[in-house]
Amino acid sequence: MSSVRLVYFAWVRERIGKDEEEITLPESVLTAGDLLTHLKSLGEEYEMALEHDNVIRVAVNQEHVEHRESIVGAREIALFPPMTGG
């Protein structure tokens, strides 16, 4: 079991209803995709925020990762929708 800080932005943040939280991840959560699946089991606000999980972007320690990539040992993981800056 390891503890990680999760941060949320834009409509992911609004739907989950918080900016950030510290959670403990089960050992079985190894990739960014595993994390999304795990979070969706935590309640309907997560389910609603992460429903279309293929569009959700993940950053580990402030760098983009693909869903298949490892999140093991991450201090901070961010979840957010596709970016619309510029």
């Binding site: 941060v7 932005f9 834009a10 409509w11 950053a59 402030q62 760098e63 983009h64 961010a78 957010f80 929708p81 596709p82 970016m83 619309t84 800056g85 510029g86």
Partner: protein, 162 residues
Amino acid sequence: MTDPAISVRVQREDFDLAAEVSALSSGRKDIGAVVTFSGLCRDEAGTLGALELEHYPGMAEAEIRRVSEAAMVRFGLIALTAIHRYGRILPGENIVLVVAASPHRQAAFDGANFVMDFLKTSAPFWKKEIDTAGKAGQWVSAKDADDSARDRWTESDGKANS
């Protein structure tokens, strides 16, 4: 190590185009071309009151810097400034600035273009529309056209970019 020829800022305040060009080029004699791109907030035919720009502090700067470093190498730029604002931005106001300097014009044009294409799809910023009555509306959706604009930089030569 931070490249001193790259200046990246993420800020609430406005910026001044002339001041940024001058800061980047003053005292140098090796620059032959400076291209500036600035992105502004449109009023969408009078329907938009403002944009609220959210960002991921730390990663926003880091991601713009990564894109900037790639552009410096790929196009042989000699100086680059990139500024992105956050917070509430009204129609007509500035959102983003890229200033690219090189010995010859093509690299400066391409460098600024490249930075914008990658910044739009990889720098963590999100726009929310505020209507003219001040009521919060929809989050702006990402456009496929922005992904296509980014991808054309990899199609021609297969190089990794960011």
